[in-house]
């Protein structure tokens, strides 16, 4: 092969590697909460009481952590499951099996405390 063809091939290969590593850095590395072990396993009543009593303290303890919360389901709405004591869980996949009054344990990432609605929010949730 001619020298110019080789140069062209090398440039192309470098470009492909460059684009792939850029995509890897920008779009890779997402956290997979459903595969993480929960750092806290707690009842909906206890965690709600902790947030109400001391929001900044509970934020420090729980924010961004993977938690497993157990409690009775009071409402389901599309991808959202609400446990008693106002724990709002956004499921990873649309929920088809969990129904109100069922006792469940939901694992997810603790997003924060919504003091407007008095709700603790979790996302990327899966049922255990």
């Amino acid at each position: 092969m001619k020298k110019s063809t080789w140069t062209l091939l090398i440039v192309l290969a470098l470009a492909v590697v460059g684009i792939m590593s850029y995509r890897c850095v920008m779009y890779g590395g997402a956290r997979n909460v459903s595969e993480e072990k929960p750092e806290f396993t707690i009842s909906s009543k206890t965690i709600a009481a902790e947030f109400i009593a001391d929001t900044p303290g509970a934020n420090l303890k729980y924010l961004e952590k993977t938690v497993a919360v157990s409690g009775t389901v009071v409402q389901t709405e599309g991808q959202v499951i609400i446990l008693e004591h106002d724990i709002v869980c956004v499921m990873k996949e649309p929920n088809t099996t969990i129904e109100p009054n069922q006792k469940v344990t939901i694992k997810g990432r603790l997003v924060g405390y919504d003091d407007l609605m008095g709700e603790i929010k979790l996302d990327q949730c899966t049922a255990l």
């Binding site: 920008m26 779009y27 997003v111 924060g112 919504d114 407007l116 929010k121």
Partner: protein, 180 residues
């Protein structure tokens, strides 16, 4: 006896009228800080909460910072850790009032002035914007957009990446409010 009952019912009726709060927990907040033709810096929060008091026009909203989703997980990480410091300041809130609000006129879409205090990154600033309201089948749709500046809320952008950020960050909000 009948009279008492009627009076009681009437009282209950007025009670209900005065505590007409409409709310949502699935509100949408979007922002875009991209510069034209450069990397897209935009995110959406689909779980914002909002309460509108139909009696007074009081309007409050809250978005958890960690609920904002970016296309790029890396960008999301930088947003939370370096810019918004979401572990220190987990929420963004608005507390204000819709001026000249009249619940009886909601059936046709209209723009109102909205005034209040916006708290982001632990900094509270007064803002003024327009909000469009319309009522359909007992639910009120409220939407607004406005711009904020990072420096107003003490959000520091390192000079190395400064040119990638728009100075005025566009924010859109959309709330579909109903009775609980």
């Amino acid at each position: 006896m009948k009279k008492i009952l009627i009076v009681a019912l009437l009282l209950m009726g007025t009670q209900a009228m005065f505590s007409q709060k409409l709310m949502t927990r699935n509100g949408v907040i979007k922002f875009d800080a991209s510069m034209p033709d450069l990397v897209e810096i935009a995110a959406t929060n689909n779980g914002a909460s909002c309460i509108l008091d139909k009696a007074t026009g009081d309007f409050v909203a809250l978005g958890l910072v960690k609920s904002f989703k970016f296309k790029s997980p890396l960008m999301e990480e930088h947003f939370n850790e370096n810019y918004m410091e979401s572990s220190k300041f987990p929420k963004a809130t608005f507390k204000g009032k819709i001026l000249n609000f009249n619940a009886a006129q909601l059936s046709s879409k209209a723009n109102y002035d909205l005034e209040g205090e916006l708290t982001i990154h632990g900094v509270t600033k007064k803002i003024k914007t327009k909000i469009a309201l319309v009522e359909k089948a007992g639910r009120v749709s409220a939407s607004s957009n406005f711009t904020v500046k990072c420096k107003d809320y003490n959000i520091e952008i390192p000079s190395l990446v400064k040119e990638k950020f728009a100075e005025n960050i566009k924010i859109w909000v959309d709330f579909d409010l109903g009775e609980k």
